[in-house]
């Protein structure tokens, strides 16, 4: 019984929306779409003629006509996706602010993160070898805070070993660094 009721409810909703949606669409046709509505779409499109200029700020006559075309299509009730697709069909993928994720264009999205991850991996590997090398050449370096061989400047061993108050340690390090620079 319950399922029957739900079915009825859904059916009536579908019917009501089937009657309402066309009227809504008609009413959407009435007022001319505002500049803001046009620009909201134009901003996402790139002028097919001028290099790297979004359509909403392009001063050429051609772009003015394209904006009017968007206005007209909006008035006809076309959706944002449909309008964008129309421009892609006519002028190619270059009107979009980003390449579509198809074919070779995948590379534009895949290469930078992969390259970055490769960098992270190389860095981690390097860290590991450095740590290992440091342990092998100077055992106990980390624990005792002894200076690493060849250290040019930096925290002298006494600082860590003596463990005085943080401030003193800091100022010693600071003075040390300043001295080394002189």
């Amino acid at each position: 019984m319950k399922t029957k009721n739900i079915c009825l409810l859904i059916l009536s909703l579908v019917l009501i929306s089937a009657i309402l949606i066309p009227t809504l669409a008609v009413s959407a046709q009435q007022p001319t779409p505002s500049d803001d509505e046009v620009n909201a779409i134009a901003r996402q499109l790139y002028c097919p003629v001028c290099e790297n200029t979004p359509l909403d700020v392009c001063p050429t006559t051609a772009c003015h006509q394209w904006r009017e075309l968007i206005r007209q299509m909006l008035a006809e009730g076309k959706s944002e996706a449909e309008i964008k697709q129309y421009f892609v069909d006519y002028y190619g993928a270059r009107v979009l602010s980003e390449p579509p994720t198809s074919g070779i264009n995948w590379l534009v999205y895949v290469v930078p993160p992969l390259a970055f991850l490769a960098g992270v991996y190389l860095l981690l590997r390097a860290f590991q070898t450095w740590k290992r090398a440091a342990k092998n050449t100077a055992p106990g370096t980390e624990l005792s805070g002894l200076p690493v061989p060849g250290l040019v400047t930096g925290a002298p061993p006494s600082i860590e070993a003596a463990r005085p108050a943080l401030d003193d340690k800091y100022v010693e390090r600071l003075e040390e660094e300043l001295k080394k620079r002189k």
């Binding site: 505002s34 803001d36 620009n39 790139y46 790297n52 979004p54 700020v57 392009c58 001063p59 050429t60 006559t61 772009c63 003015h64 190619g92 993928a93 270059r94 979009l96 602010s97 980003e98 390449p99 074919g103 070779i104 590379l107 534009v108 290469v111 930078p112 993160p113 390259a115 970055f116 960098g119 992270v120 860095l123 390097a126 860290f127 450095w130 740590k131 090398a133 440091a134 050449t137 370096t141 980390e142 805070g145 690493v148 061989p149 060849g150 250290l151 040019v152 400047t153 930096g154 860590e160 943080l166 401030d167 003193d168 100022v171 390090r173 600071l174 003075e175 660094e177 300043l178 002189k182």
Partner: protein, 674 residues
């Protein structure tokens, strides 16, 4: 006649540059000081010569020699004197002359110093600078000759040539086309020379790096010698970028300052590697590490400097076909390729000599964090480089062009910039050599507390955008850490030396200007970040055609269209100017005058009416591409929150730079720095 003279001077300078390359190489391999000295003198002589050639061109520009194609293209009778002078870099041919002139000036300045301690480096510094100079001069002589004049061929075509084509008649136009109005803005007058100063100054550290590689000096002498050059290069490149942003904001009339345009990115890329270099050389100076990496960074910077000039000058950006057709494009491409390959080959040859003197011991040491900083900068570089060249690759492979626009760059770079800000907050508190998460944590918790209050306050104030919350928290963290560092240093000194706090502060910063100047630059960067966050996250815009008396609303402001007038200006342009009254909560705040100017050659220039405060900018454009009349006009209004902080940060940046780079006599004496 003068044109031929100027051309002849350039040819002579070119030959002299080639001679200095040959003499320097001969001097090095033949172990002959006389040849090296000859190379040095030849290098020095290029400067007065190229100055003479450049002055000749400037004279031709200001005296209206429109028979020359370049003069015709960038000047006109109605332009004021100063614009005729700055028209030197208003076009391609003149820009290349400016490049050569700066290169010669810097190379001469370098060769004038006392070389006793570093005599072995001299020949190779001369080789690198002279090769670069010769390349740019060759472009001027062979392809982009500013002295070429107009000829009318027997067929009636007008062609620019240096020498008369057979049967052609000399033509002298009575007036020129004039400089593009967009380029007549003070920002655009200063922007190219600033960028070029930065570009060319980076050649100097590169030249020393190559000299160090060739001669096999593995110490950090080349870095110490060129530290100031690197800083100056970085300053001018940064200023060039900021001026370009300001120019775009004032003149282009699209309410923003940065559009991730390939031309902008071309100038940003050497800045990225240069900034990474600036940080990582400190590790080499302090710890003797990352020598190979620093070499690679300066090689990359040099290549990107040339690549940046190439991108903006070769036509490659509009299409690969335009590139193939332009003569200058392939020349650039070959030059970048050859210099890059030779530099990297040298680096590989010396790879083993450049091993680190010490090994990294801790993830939390300052050098480890600096390395992370370098990784992030490289990440941004990869995104930018790939974004710029991908459309070219796509066009080559599929024949179809694609646009890689702001959404791509923003999505990829925003987290990287966020991580860089986090590092700016953490790294200053870490120690060289050895630093554990405990010591770092102990230093970090105090400044973290006030920084943690910021997001709470923001949430209470109604901010729900998580990017804004993270961004402003990071800004606060950097500010508090930096102030804390100043306070901690001064306080410790005060205790130790028994000084007054202010005296302690002054002496502390005075004795370590590089460090505290660097902190000031960090502060300036996050102040700029405030403006960028405000613009990227909260900018709003609206457009409407208004009749006189009607108004438009945006972000609590009401703008009423009062009147519109059109009138000629003394220099011949026709100005169309609207008057708008600005109100907030019913209170009158003032008037704005958005306008656009039509120059005699029909070129328009849009000047927004801007009301600028620390909180926000109200930016109104009279939309000249729609129908405008005195009764009705379309306006586009932008509300740009916090954008002023971007410019305030830029000014702070210069101040921080001056603190960091101000000459230190004692230190210079010790290091023999140039």
């Amino acid at each position: 006649m003068l044109a031929q003279f100027g051309f002849g001077v350039f040819v002579l300078t070119f030959l002299l540059a080639l001679f200095s390359v040959g003499a320097a190489v001969a001097g090095y391999f033949g172990n002959s000081d006389r040849w090296v000295e000859a190379a040095r003198r030849a290098m020095l002589l290029t400067f007065p010569l190229i100055t003479l050639g450049t002055l000749t061109l400037v004279y031709l520009l200001v005296t209206g020699h429109y028979e020359l194609q370049y003069v015709y293209a960038v000047t006109s009778n109605d332009m004021p004197f100063y614009l005729k002078v700055t028209a030197l870099w208003g076009g391609q041919a003149g820009s290349l002359v400016l490049w050569s002139w700066l290169m010669s000036a810097f190379a001469s300045a370098i060769t004038l110093r006392k070389w006793e301690r570093d005599r072995e480096l001299l020949p190779w510094v001369i080789v690198v600078t002279s090769v670069t100079l010769a390349f740019f001069l060759a472009l001027s002589i062979l392809y982009e000759n500013p002295f070429a004049r107009w000829w009318q061929t027997a067929l009636g075509d007008f062609v620019p040539r240096m020498f008369a084509p057979a049967g052609a008649l000399a033509v002298t136009p009575s007036d020129g086309q004039g400089l593009n109005p967009l380029l007549r803005h003070p920002g655009m007058i200063l922007h190219p020379p600033m960028l070029y100063l930065g570009f060319v100054a980076f050649v100097i550290p590169f030249a020393f790096a190559i000299a160090a590689l060739v001669t096999g000096r593995s110490d950090d002498r080349w870095i110490r010698l060129t530290r100031r050059w690197t800083l100056v290069a970085w300053l001018f490149l940064s200023l060039g970028l900021v001026l370009g942003m300001r120019w775009a904001y004032d003149v282009l009339g699209w309410g923003g300052y940065w559009a991730w345009d390939p031309v902008e990115i071309a100038a940003l890329m050497p800045w990225l590697t240069g900034t990474a270099f600036l940080h990582s050389v400190m590790i080499q100076e302090k710890r003797g590490m990352f020598k190979q990496w620093n070499m690679l960074l300066i090689i990359l910077t040099y290549s990107l400097v040339i690549f940046g000039t190439f991108l903006t000058r070769s036509g490659v950006l509009s299409s690969v076909h335009a590139f193939a057709e332009s003569a200058i494009g392939p020349m650039f491409f070959a030059f970048i390729g050859i210099t890059f390959v030779i530099s990297v080959a040298l680096l590989i040859y010396r790879w083993k000599d450049l091993r680190a003197e010490v090994e990294m011991t801790s993830f939390f040491s300052r050098e480890a964090l600096f390395l992370l900083n370098n990784l992030l900068f490289m990440g941004v570089l990869i995104v930018c480089f790939w974004g710029v060249i991908f459309p070219l690759i796509s066009e080559l492979v599929t024949g179809q062009k694609v646009t890689v626009g702001p959404p791509f760059y923003l999505r990829a770079n925003a987290p990287l910039f966020g991580a860089l800000m986090a590092l700016m907050g953490i790294a200053p508190l870490s120690a060289w050599g050895k630093s554990t998460y405990k010591t770092l944590g102990r230093a970090l918790w105090k400044p973290s507390i006030p920084a943690a209050i910021v997001p709470i306050v923001l949430v209470i104030l109604g901010v729900r955008n998580w990017i804004a919350l993270v961004g402003f928290t990071l800004v606060a963290l950097v500010i508090f850490v930096t102030l804390f560092e100043f306070w901690r240093g001064a306080r410790s000194r005060q205790k130790k030396q028994n000084e007054n706090f202010l005296v302690a502060f002054w002496r502390l910063a005075g004795h370590n200007r590089r460090r505290y100047g660097g902190y000031l630059i960090h502060l300036s960067m996050v102040v700029m970040a405030i403006g960028i966050l405000g613009m990227e996250l909260y900018q709003t815009t609206t457009q409407k055609t208004l009749a006189v008396g009607e108004d438009i609303q945006i972000s609590g402001y009401t703008l009423r269209f009062d009147s519109l007038a059109q009138f000629p200006y003394t220099d011949g342009r026709i100005v169309t100017r609207a008057v708008m009254s600005v109100f907030k909560d019913g209170k009158f705040l003032g008037e704005l005058y958005p306008r656009y100017d039509y120059y005699p050659d029909g070129q328009p220039m849009t000047i927004a009416g801007v009301r600028s405060t620390l909180a926000d900018d109200l930016y109104v454009v009279l939309v000249n591409w729609e129908n405008v009349s005195s009764a009705e006009a379309p306006f586009k209004v932008y509300h740009n929150p916090l954008v002023n902080w971007l410019w305030i940060g830029s000014v702070m940046f210069i101040f921080g730079f001056l603190v960091a780079a101000w000459p230190d006599r004692e230190e210079e004496k010790r290091a023999g720095t140039i």
